[in-house]
Structures are given as C-alpha cells and as structure tokens.
C-alpha cells in the first residue's frame, strides 16, 4: 500500500510539474473563463417565465456566433487532457530504464500501474472540478442567480461524468503506452483514434445506416464522445429531455424538465457504457503490464 501511495504521490507531483499539463490546464482555464463570460452575456436571451435551471444554462449557452459553450469546449478538451495524462505512462518508464529499477523495489507490480492511473485520475478530477467550480463562481458573480440544490447536484454529476470521460481517454492512452514501446507511437495512436471516433464514426454511421436514424444513432454510440455528449445533455439541459432519444421512444413528449433521478435513468446506459469502456481499457493495460516480462535488453 505504501508503494502504491508513493507511486501515486510521485506521479501526481509529476503531473503538476510537467509543462505539458500546466500549459494544457492554463489553456482550459482560459477557454472556460472565456466561454462563461460569453454565456453570461447571452444567458438572458432564452429565458422565459417558465425557465428553470438558469444556473445550468451558464454551461450550455453559447455565443450568437462562433463562440462555443463551455460544455462544447470541455467535451473537446477532456480527451486531449486524458491522452496527455496517459500516453507515456508505461513506455517512457520502460525506455528510460526506470521501470526495472522501480520494480526491484519492494512493491507489488500492479501498484505501479494503479498508482499511475490513480494519479492521472486525481489530476483529472482536480482539473475538471476546479474549472467547473471556478467557472461556476465566476458565473455566480456575473449573473447573481444562485444555483438550486438540484442544479448543484446536477453539476456534481456532470463533474463526475466528465472525470469518467477523461478517465476513458486516459486509460485508452495508458493501454497504448503499454502496448507501444515508443512514446510518440502511443500518442499518435491515441490522437488518431480520438479523431476517428470524433469525426468519422458519425459519418460511417450515416453511411451504413442510410436513412435510418435509429441505427445511425446506435452505431454512432460506439464513440465515447457521443455517449458523453448525450449524458451531459441530459444532465445539463434538463428542459430538453434527451433529444437524441426523442426519435425512438419519446415522440410527442412535452419539453418539461425532468427530475435528476429521471435524467440519470435516461443517461444510465450511456454512463455505464462509458464506465465499461474505461474499465475495459484499464483491464487491458493492467493484464498486459502484469504479464509482461522484464527482459534483459
């Protein structure tokens, strides 16, 4: 256990001292602040007498032109952060010769990969929580409307889902870092897969499914980005219940805010899929790492 914690603290400190991470998080903070500023300017445009969840709108309202919502920015940045946190987890240790030295210390081998994964997860959690809370604080200052208890719960759920989404990309890049000895290969493979899932899966889904929207939707759900988008949509835009599901079951449903429990219920399959994918990637890297022999070079 002490070994795991030692690895964890060392990796956490590594993340917080790496230029890569600092630059990336500064970028995200700036983008987040910019989007929230724009959102605060535009938030009133859509509010009517019946509007609920005003505070949540801060995160989903975008500018009139070319400025994206906070949610959009975050969904774009989370994979990058996840990949950046994971792609050199194991292979850099291996090529630098640190791995055999570390493994000759009295700690279980899985402590190394667990500690590294945990450190990445906590880093992600700190980054995402701080950005959402920071932005929420700024938003509160700007619009002066305090969030309701449910809005706070929804935001917490949103943060957790975002961390899970980031964890997926991190575990994917960790997987690549276990399989590819070269750091650059792992990074490129992760980014390639990200772009493929982000851009091409929807297109492929369209082509394969033809005019059938339901099948296209099902295929596009291969992409974790789509899953994340759907979950966050349900969480943050409760007034438009599951737009993506309307075509299937909810035709004729009135746009009325759903309670959080119902929102979670709708998003549950997507959420569990995300968790499952994350666990799958991590299990893959775990098994490969544990089975791998340390060989003389």
């Amino acid at each position: 256990m002490s070994g795991l914690m030692a690895v964890f603290w060392k990796e956490l400190a590594d993340h917080f001292n790496s230029k890569r991470f600092i630059i990336l998080s500064l970028l995200i903070y700036l983008a987040g602040i910019a989007t929230i500023y724009v959102a605060a300017q535009n938030i009133r445009s859509g509010i009517t007498e019946t509007t609920q969840f005003i505070f949540l709108r801060l995160f989903t309202v975008s500018g009139e032109v070319q400025v994206f919502s906070f949610l959009f920015f975050l969904s774009l940045f989370i994979p990058i952060v996840g990949i950046a946190l994971g792609f050199d987890t194991v292979n850099s240790e291996r090529t630098s010769g640190n791995l055999s030295r570390t493994l000759s210390q009295p700690l279980y081998r899985d402590s190394v990969i667990n500690g590294k994964f945990l450190a990445g997860l906590i880093t992600l959690a700190i980054l995402l929580t701080s950005i959402v809370v920071l932005v929420a604080g700024m938003g509160l200052r700007m619009i002066g409307v305090p969030p309701t208890a449910e809005e706070i719960l929804r935001l917490v759920a949103f943060i957790i889902v975002s961390i899970i989404y980031g964890a997926f990309w991190m575990s994917l890049s960790v997987l690549f870092s276990v399989f590819f000895n070269r750091v650059a290969t792992a990074a490129l493979a992760s980014i390639a897969l990200w772009i493929f899932l982000l851009l091409f899966v929807p297109i492929i889904a369209q082509v394969l499914a033809g005019a059938n929207g339901e099948i296209a939707g099902a295929i596009s759900r291969i992409s974790p980005g789509v899953l994340y988008g759907q979950v966050t949509q349900v969480l943050l835009i409760p007034s438009h219940p599951a737009m993506f599901m309307i075509s299937m079951y909810y035709t004729g449903l009135e746009p009325n805010p759903l309670p959080l429990s119902q929102s979670l219920l709708i998003a549950w399959p997507q959420l569990t899929s995300l968790i499952g994918l994350t666990a799958l990637c991590f299990a893959g890297s775990y098994i490969k790492f544990m089975r791998e022999e340390i060989r003389s070079t």
């Binding site: 019946t50 002066g144 409307v145």
Partner: protein
C-alpha cells in the same frame, strides 16, 4: 416591442380608419340627398317669383370634435329666390365667446369673404364654408354644445341658419417619470422605488385611473406595485405623484430589463405607457459568494501546486 405600444398604435389606426371611412361615405350620402333636394328647389324658382328670400341650408349642421382640438367646418348653401337681379348679401357669423371663425368660398380657395353676390337664377351647391374653431388651444374648451348662427342679409332680405358645434370631452392621460429619466436600478428580491407623475392632459375629469406594468421578456417573479393603487378622480389638468415599487425576482440575472408602465382610467378611453429601463442588480451577497468560490479554487490550486511543486 411592447404589446401595449402595439395596441396603442392599433387603436390609433382604427380611429384613423373610422375618420377616413366617414370622409369616403360622406360624398355618397350628399349625392343621394342632392337629387332629393334638387327637385323641390327647382320647381319654386319657376313657379312663384313674388317673395324675395334668401335661404341658408347646411347638410351637416351639427359637428362635433373630441376635445375641440380640431376646427368645425360647415358647408352652407345659399339660395336666393324671388328676385330678378343678382344681389349682394352680407355675411355674418355669430359664435360663442372664445371661438373664432372664418368664411371662405367653397371654390375660391382660401380667401376670406364677407359678402357674396347671388344670382337668383342660379344655384350654388355648398356656396360658402364657415370654419369655426375654439380660439384658445392651450386650455381645452369645456365640453358642451356651442350654437353658431350664420346670417346673410341684403337690405330687408335676411336669412339665417342655426348651426351647432359640439365639443366632446377628451380623455388624455400622461405619465412622466419624476426624474425625467426613464431608467432606474433595482436589486433582485429587494424593493426599489421609482416615482412617476400622472397628469390629466385631457378635457374631462378622469375616473378611476388604474396602473399596470409588465416586464418585457417576461421573467418570472417580478413584483411591481403602485402607491396609490389607483386614483379615484383626476381632474382636468391635475397631476398626482405615484410611487412604483419595482422588486425584481429573487433569481433575476443581473442586467437591464425593460419595464412597461401604463395608466388608463376606467372612464373613457385614455392611455399612456412608458418603458422604464431597470438595471437589475443582484444581491451583493451572491457576488461575494462567487468571488469567494473563485478565490477558494485558486487558493486550492496554489496549495496543490505548492504541495506538489518541486523547489
């Protein structure tokens, strides 16, 4: 913009249409009555030449105007019968005090005339036009009926016609902010006062002046109350101070809102509305909480970096 503004315009348009309708239908009506009048007027001129007389007829002898802000124009036909030679008749108009008048030929442009030469052999439809107006524009004349007499005389031959000008009461109300500026500030969930003056600018007392308000864009939970709630009687020319308490909703997003304030009496039609720009401020506590959260997050990150940072 506002539904009220729109309604106001709509009403004006409707009024205008009514006026136009009157103008269009009037000539048709006069044409039909002319054919009726022509027959009896032709036959006496051919039959009995013995008595010379002047008759004045007017198709619309009673005119009315709301508030008396417009003039009264009467077209009068003079007919001279029994004579052989054309005669010159002097024209005289008697109006109530405070009224002025002018006589002009219906055909001769705007030239004022005082006498007219009439050939008995001929008829002159709408011979002259008598225009009467309340002379003092600033103070509206009291509503009521004002008799006007138009007289034509040449020697012993005299004729006159009694006309009537009815001045109806005009209901007008005006809202004016006490500061002269149409903006104010209000804090979410807190009372904020804005004073307006209500003035009766019409020509009749206004009964039961009510106020209403609407926040444009219709965010929920705003409370706008008036003190006094209504004014029982607002005499002509009088003004009253009304305090408006604007209390934005608890969950108002900071920024500018337009609030439409309107007043109208139950008696008669009168309406005025002003749009007040209300800068909604949010309770400073949330601002401070927001800043507090931001500071906490930054402090947390700094601690994190210090704790994990190397050297």
């Amino acid at each position: 913009m506002s539904r009220f503004r729109a309604g106001y315009y709509l009403t004006c348009t409707a009024l205008l249409l009514m006026v136009f309708g009157g103008l269009v239908t009037a000539p048709i009506a006069s044409a039909t009555s002319d054919t009726h009048l022509d027959l009896p007027s032709l036959s006496p001129s051919q039959k009995s030449p013995e008595t010379e007389e002047i008759t004045l007829t007017c198709q619309y002898p009673v005119l009315s105007s709301p508030g008396g802000t417009s003039f009264f124009a009467y077209s009068i036909e003079l007919q001279y019968t029994g004579g052989k030679e054309p005669r010159v008749f002097d024209l005289q108009v008697t109006v109530p005090s405070g009224f002025s008048y002018s006589i002009a030929s219906s055909y001769g442009g705007g030239t004022e005339i005082a006498a007219i030469r009439i050939d008995p052999q001929q008829t002159y439809p709408d011979t002259i036009k008598v225009t009467v107006r309340p002379s003092l524009w600033i103070i509206m004349p009291e509503p009521g009926e004002y008799p006007i007499t138009v007289e034509a005389a040449s020697g012993e031959i005299k004729g006159n016609i009694e006309l009537k000008a009815i001045i109806m009461a005009k209901y007008e109300i005006e809202l004016e902010p006490s500061t002269g500026r149409l903006n104010t500030t209000a804090t979410a969930g807190e009372d904020s006062y804005f004073t307006v003056y209500v003035t009766n600018t019409g020509s009749a007392d206004l009964q039961k002046v009510n106020f209403s308000s609407k926040v444009i864009g219709a965010p929920a939970g705003w409370s706008i109350t008036f003190d006094p709630q209504d004014i029982d009687v607002l005499p002509v020319g009088a003004n009253r101070e009304v305090q408006i308490n604007i209390k934005p909703a608890q969950k108002t997003i900071a920024g500018d809102y337009m609030v439409a304030i309107s007043a109208s009496p139950e008696s008669g039609y009168a309406f005025d509305a002003i749009d007040v720009r209300v800068t909604a401020l949010t309770p400073t506590i949330w601002g401070w909480v927001g800043i507090g959260i931001v500071i906490l997050v930054i402090a947390g990150l700094v601690v994190m970096f210090l704790r994990l940072g190397r050297r």
